[in-house]
Each structure stands twice: as C-alpha cells, then as structure tokens.
Amino acid sequence: MVIEVHDLVKKFNGTTAVDRLSFTAGRGEILGLLGPNGAGKTTAIQMLLGIIEPTGGSIRVFGQDIGTHRQAILQRLNFSSAYVSLPQNLRVMDNLRVFAGIYGVANWREKAMELLQLFEIDKLATRKTGQLSSGESTRLHLCKALLNDPELLLLDEPTASLDPDIADKVRKLLRRIQRERGITVLYTSHNMREIEEICDRVIFLHHGRKMAEGPPKEVIAKFNQQTLEQVFIRIVRDGELEETKEGSHR
C-alpha cells in the first residue's frame, strides 16, 4: 500500500475536522476525496503531508510513519493545489530550477523542458509566472509537481480555476501520465463529473466522517442515484437532516 490511514482524528479547539478516518490507496490508483466545504478533505491531505499534526490515529506512506520519516516520504511525493502559487515574479524556468534543486533532480533543464512540452507550455519558459493565465499557471504547477517523478501525487482541486476545455485537457493528460508512470494520486475536487471520469475509487467525507467509499459506479448504485453529484447532494442533505434531528432530540 502507498497510503495507509488508520483512525485519523483532527480536532481544532474542540471542533472535530477529521473523525476516525481510515482508508488505503494502492500503487497506481487514483483515489478521490470528496465532500462539501469543511468536510475535512484538505485537512486530511495536509496531515498526509505532515504540515498538520493529527490529534489521533496513524498515517503511513510508502510503509513509513509520516511523523518520524517525513523528509524521506516528502522526497518521493509531490503536491499541487489551486490555492497555492509559485512565485509570480520569477520566470517559469526559474521556478522549476528552484524546485528541481530542492528535490535534487538530475539534468533539471532537460527534465523541466520535457514537462513544459508535455503540458504544452514550453514556449512560456522565459515568461514571468505572474504573466501566465490560470490554465497555464495550473499546468506549470503540475510540471512542478511532476519534477521529482513522484510515486504519490496529492492534488487539491487542481482544476478549480480552469475553463471546461483546459480542465478537460489537464484531466486527460493527468490520467495519461498517471497510467504511464503508475503514480498513485489522491485527488480532491468539487466537480463530480471530473471525479467520475478520473477516479478509480472515491471516499465521501462529511463533517470529517467517511460516509461512503468505493468505485464511483458502485457508490452511485449503492445510493440509488444516477450520478455522483446526486450522491453528493444526498449525503450532504441527509447529513444535515440527521444533525438537525440529533439537535432537536438534545
């Protein structure tokens, strides 16, 4: 297993953000982490990256504990998020050069150009990052995320700011790269159609708790719905209904 999460708990000042979450992800699998805002997806990813300390439970990545082997684990994975940027005042190639240095990428120039070509932004290599469009910027982030040939890729809403055409291109490219290289991907998105298209398996989170898990088609069937979006809406509304009932009983 690439990721083994067991009974993960995170509490912030008494509020439970992640509640006894357990899951695994195998090699070459794309696992979708779904849920409404505040469901605990980003917190879970950040605990996997070791920048938030769990309140309880365990996280093992590549068979090692994130608490004790953080640096070794981070060397083998990478991360991209729509909410994180690369320095805008550096040129595209300079940003990749800096991260290639951090990850110790041999022949960084060739590697960076190869990735820029793959994402069709090689013509922008000398342009300042701040001058890129959202789509170009997202593709640059993905170039950065693939620089160290990661075995695990954590993508937090990577297509959030893209138009449907670019988002589609990015998804197809990601799927292709993932298949060719056998990368494990943990993917969060609010776009259910995207999740259906790209993920092998999904986990629904609501108020930090796991509400459903399985391949998208199985989850859809289990909830007697037509699409993941309908499942999403049902889980969120039923969850709220349950809480309202619990609240009125108290």
Partner: protein, 265 residues
C-alpha cells in the same frame, strides 16, 4: 542538512533581485537615506560645536552603518519568509523535503550577502561624503559585524515564529521588532546615558557590546576584546533560545494547522 537544498532556497531569494530593479534599489534606498541624514547631522554638529563637540561625534555614522547591518540580517530572515507567504508559495516549500534548519540557513546565507553588499556600499559612501573611514576599526570590524549578524538572525527567527503563530496580523513585527531593541542597545549613545534601572537590561543585549566597543576603538584606538567575547557569548545564548522558541512555535503551528492556513490565504 543538505547543501543542495540550501543552495536552491538561496537561489529562489536571489532570483527575486535579478529580475527586479525596484527590489535592488529598495536594499540601498533606506540605508543611504539614513546615512545622508546622520552624516549631515554629524557634519552640522561638528560645525556649530567647534571646540565643544569632540571629533568623536563621527561615531554616529559608524553607529548608523552598524545598526543597518543588524537590521539587514534580521530582515533577510523575516522578509524571505514573508516573500513566500505573500507569493502563496509557503506550502510548496514546506511540503518539499526541506527541513527548518535548511530553510533558516538559506535565509542566513542571504543575510551574509545582503550585509556584505550593504556594508560595503555604506562604507564607501560614508568615506566619500563625510571622510568617515569605518575600516579604521581594522580587523575588529569582522568580529563586530559577525556579532551583529548573529543577533539579527536570532531576532529574525523569533519574528518568523511570531508571524507563523499569529499570521498576517503579526507581519508588522518584521519591521517593528528591531526598533523595540534599538533604544535599549545604546546604538547612538553610550549605555551610561540610560537610566540606571535600564542599564543592566541594555547589557543583556549582544549588540550593546558592539556599539560600545566601536566607540571605544574610535576614541582610544584600543580594541576591547572582552566586549566582543561578551557579545559572542550572549549571541550563542540568544541563538539557542531563538531556535528553541522557533521549534516550539513550529510545533504549535503544526498542531493548530496555522502554517497551512498562512500558506493558502
């Protein structure tokens, strides 16, 4: 500790200057303005005071230069961190296999470069405009500057720890903390000028020994080495305390999820 990663981080900060003339100008603008003000004030005091003001008053220029070096060393740590906060690049750095030690070392190295360049430019300007030769301090210049840098780094670590903990609201500390220290550390006047109850506090500051030492060298030509050793000893204590504080705050920040918040806001 990986030299490769430290180099890569240092490169990230240096590249900012390669592509921005405004940033380069910003490094020199304030120090040069300060030098002009203090230099002309010194010239004026010498002119109106004639026999009443000793020639030693030129130490004001030396104090200003030394103060700027301390300030630059602190700024190299804090502003480097803030550059990544402002660029929303902080998470990219901290989810890479970069240790806190490597990150801080890169900012210290940037401090050495900034302090060297800044010090040289100010020394040349002070010599050209006011005939003040800071190199008359001789070899003592090196340990004195080193001592100021060490204190600047310690202050920088504390400032970054506070910004991590209290976020954007604490950003002003990056510029404010050195000026909290300034009145107590006898930069432009001797410790004896301070009220009696403040003097022991002043002697707990490593930089106080540097400023007092510099004035002694200029006045007597004799190097008060004990001042340097006191300064160095206190700096070691300050650096260890700052590192412990930084580690503690980093653990708090990880527990509260504040680094992630700061990196995505």
């Amino acid at each position: 500790m990986s030299l490769r990663r430290i180099n890569a981080l240092l490169l990230r900060y240096l590249l900012l200057y390669r592509q921005s003339w405004t940033r380069i100008m910003e490094i020199f603008f304030w120090p040069v303005m300060d030098l002009l003000v203090w230099g002309f004030l010194t010239a004026y005091l010498l002119k109106i005071g004639s026999n009443n003001v000793p020639a030693l008053i030129t130490f004001l220029i030396g104090s200003m230069i030394f103060w700027d070096l301390l300030y630059r060393a602190q700024q190299s740590v804090t502003i480097s961190f803030l550059e990544d906060v402002w660029a929303r690049n902080l998470l990219n750095i901290f989810v890479a296999p970069v240790t806190i030690g490597e990150f801080l070392t890169a900012t210290f190295a940037l401090g050495v470069i900034k302090v060297s360049v800044n010090g040289l430019v100010l020394a040349l300007l002070a010599w050209a405009l006011y005939a003040f030769n800071i190199f008359q301090l001789g070899f003592t210049l090196i340990p004195f500057v080193l001592s100021l840098m060490l204190m600047g780094w310690a202050m920088g670590m504390v400032t970054v720890a506070l910004i991590m903990r209290w976020g954007h609201a604490a950003e002003a500390l990056a510029w404010g903390i050195p000026f909290l220290v300034q009145p107590l550390s006898a930069v432009f006047y001797p410790v004896s000028v301070l009220p009696g109850w403040l003097q022991p506090i002043s002697w707990t500051m490593p930089c106080t020994y540097v400023f007092e030492g510099m004035r002694q060298v200029l006045a007597t030509g004799i190097v008060p080495w004990h001042m340097f050793w006191w300064s160095l000893g206190l700096n070691v204590i300050y650096l260890i305390a700052a590192a412990v504080f930084f580690r503690y705050m980093f653990a708090v920040v990880r527990k509260k999820g504040l680094l992630a918040k700061l990196g995505m806001e």
